[in-house]
C-alpha cells in the first residue's frame, strides 16, 4: 500500500503560471522527497527536505513540510512546457531502507 496521497491528481495550467502540488503521508518520517517522471522515462530526484526543516528552495522549486499535519507541498514557479510530467512525493521511513511513494500529480503545462 502507498503511504502518501497527492492532491490534485491532475493539474493543467498555462506556461508561466505557478503550479502547487500537495502530499499527505501517514507515519513518522526521516525525510520527504519529490520526484519527477516524464512520459516513458525513469524517476528523477528533485529535492529532499528533512523532517527538521520547514522549507527548502532549489531553483524554481519550493518545498514546504509540516510534520504536525503530515503534509508537504511542492511549488513550481514560472512553469515551462518542459515541466510537464508526473510528480511524486516519497517518504523514507524511519528504520526502513525503502521509499514509499504517493500516487502522483500529473502536471500539464500548456504553451
Amino acid at each position: 500500500s502507498q503511504q502518501g496521497e497527492e492532491d490534485p491528481q491532475a493539474l493543467s495550467i498555462q506556461e508561466g503560471e505557478n503550479a502547487t502540488m500537495n502530499c499527505s503521508y501517514k507515519t513518522s518520517i526521516n525525510n520527504l522527497q519529490w520526484y519527477r517522471q516524464n512520459s516513458g522515462r525513469g524517476l528523477v530526484h528533485l529535492i529532499l527536505i528533512r523532517s527538521n526543516e520547514r522549507e527548502k528552495h532549489s531553483g524554481r522549486l519550493r518545498v514546504t513540510l509540516d510534520t504536525s499535519k503530515k503534509s508537504s507541498s511542492l511549488l513550481i514557479t514560472a512553469s515551462r512546457a518542459a515541466d510537464t510530467a508526473s510528480y511524486f512525493c516519497a517518504t523514507y521511513l524511519q528504520g526502513a531502507q525503502k521509499l514509499v511513494f504517493g500516487q502522483g500529480t500529473r502536471l500539464t503545462i500548456n504553451p
Partner: protein
Amino acid sequence: GAGVSQSPRYKVAKRGQDVALRCDPISGHVSLFWYQQALGQGPEFLTYFQNEAQLDKSGLPSDRFFAERPEGSVSTLKIQRTQQEDSAVYLCASSLWGRGGYNEQFFGPGTRLTVL
C-alpha cells in the same frame, strides 16, 4: 558516469511465461532496490539488497516473484508464470551506501512488462 541501466526496456509475455528483468546499478553502489509501478500509480517497493544479501523482500507480491544479486552487482528480477496483473513498469534503483541513514536512490529507466 553511467547511471542505472535496465534491460530489456520493453517485454511482452504471454500469460504463463517466465520473464527475467535485468538491472545494472551504478558501479560501486552497495544497495539495490526493485519497485513496481502500475499504470497511473506511484512506484511500490518490492525488494532490497545490500551487496549480495537480500535484506527485505516484503514487497514481493507472490512466490512467483524472485530476485537475486549473486555477486553484489547486477540483479535479476524473475517472474514465473506471469499473470495479466503483473503488467507494470519495473524500476530498479541503487544507492551508494547501506544502512546508517538515508542515501539518495538513483533510478533506472525501467522495464515495461506487458502480459497478454
